[in-house]
């Protein structure tokens, strides 16, 4: 009787744990927040590591998701365009795709270098929204045209620029098998970059103007001397 009871208990324990929570995939980043401040002549490198708490190898995409890189351009209150700064003009991530071994914490976790090095000239994109009346004609030539076009342009980095967003590590494949749900984690990034001060830029402009005026005057005076 006792043996039967013990057997029943063992069987119950076995079946009750049959559907117990098995471990799936996971991901992590070694820091939850990054704050970087500096100016155009600075060069800082910091490293974040991509962690893997699971027993499976994972492949992850690493990217920066910018919150305030895009600003609206409005004319009489109507949005006509958007300007987007390419964050890579301020800082870069050295990797965008990583394989992370199982149980990777600390030194075993692969590093991603975040290099802060603001450039004198920043890359930007201007997205111009065209009115529907014009879109009709453009679609005659290009059927896939939606309602905007993008022009890349470069500009001097004047003043201060704050960039906020997330460095995201997102799992897209794993030795676990087919993934129905993809986990990701985000590290908050706040970058304050100082470009050339506006006053310095104005002085530079004045100097350039003076030099040009001087050169023009010299050329003119030489011309007069020759004519005499």
């Amino acid at each position: 009787m006792k043996k039967a009871l013990v057997l029943c208990l063992l069987l119950f324990l076995l079946f009750s744990s049959a559907n117990a929570q098995t471990q799936g995939v996971g991901i992590g980043i070694s820091t939850y927040s990054l704050n970087i401040s500096g100016s155009i002549l600075d060069y800082y490198v910091t490293t974040v590591r991509i962690l893997n708490p699971s027993d499976y190898e994972i492949s992850a995409k690493i990217y920066f998701e910018c919150k305030d890189c895009t600003r609206e351009v409005r004319l009489f209150g109507k949005k006509i365009a958007e300007t987007t700064i390419d964050y890579k003009s301020i800082f870069t991530l050295d990797k965008d795709d990583l394989k992370i071994p199982p149980r990777a914490y600390g030194e075993e976790a692969p590093p991603v270098k975040v290099t802060f090095s603001p450039k004198f000239i920043t890359k930007n994109y201007l997205r111009v929204y065209t009115p529907e009346a014009i879109n009709f004609f453009i679609r005659i030539i290009n059927k896939k045209y939606e309602n905007s076009f993008v022009i890349p342009y470069y500009s001097l980095f004047i003043g201060e620029r704050r960039i906020q967003g997330l460095i995201v590590a997102s799992v897209y494949a794993s030795s676990f098998g087919s993934l129905g749900v993809t986990p990701s984690v985000g590290t908050n990034v706040e970058v304050n970059a100082k470009g050339m001060p506006l006053s310095s830029f104005l002085i530079l402009l004045c100097l350039l103007a003076l030099i040009i005026v001087y050169i023009v005057k010299r050329i003119k005076s030489r011309g007069k001397k020759k004519s005499r």
């Binding site: 559907n19 471990q23 927040s33 986990p183």
Partner: protein, 215 residues
Amino acid sequence: MDEKYLLLAISSLFFILIAVTTISLGQQEYRSIMNASIQQPICIQLSGNYSEGVFFTNTTTIGVQYPITNMLVLNNATGNYYGPSYGTTYSIQACSGNTINIKVAHCACENLKCSSGDCAIGVDQLYVSYEADGGVGWANGTTATFNIHAPPDTSYYFPDTDVYQIIAGNVSPGDSVFMRYWIDPRPNNAPSGVYNTTFNIRAVEIAQNIGTCSC
């Protein structure tokens, strides 16, 4: 003669400089380094069933996927009651190595689109957001056997596609969030077939913005 004096003056100045430097360095005899290495990780781990995906079945089956036949009621996800004591097998754990509390959000990349069957592939769809005739809903709890068996209200349905919705606002290190999902298929006259979408989970520190869902 003048050159000699000049050379003497320069060499004297040089030696005075060396002496002053040596004295000042001598005063900073105990120079040491201050160094700190800080690691405040953010990390999550999904349960096995959750990693596989959320598969909807009918109202009565547990653990196995069967076609949904009743379009007017909430139909279970296979893992809703598949754990011990009819607990859910969908969970997200904040790693015990975390030093901060996290918030967790989920996002459906698209409505469930027809992938095979009698429905028009890529055209027919089941909406995830709530309307009077249904949607995809969820409920959360702190234990696997939490006592909620339907979405508590309309805010526990996906708000739309490509939008992160917070499913747990404050998860301490080592703690888990347990989830259950239901589908009340919308529209009710959706043609027979298999409908799929992809699904994301994201975690950030509680004070941070969850970001945008880009699939």
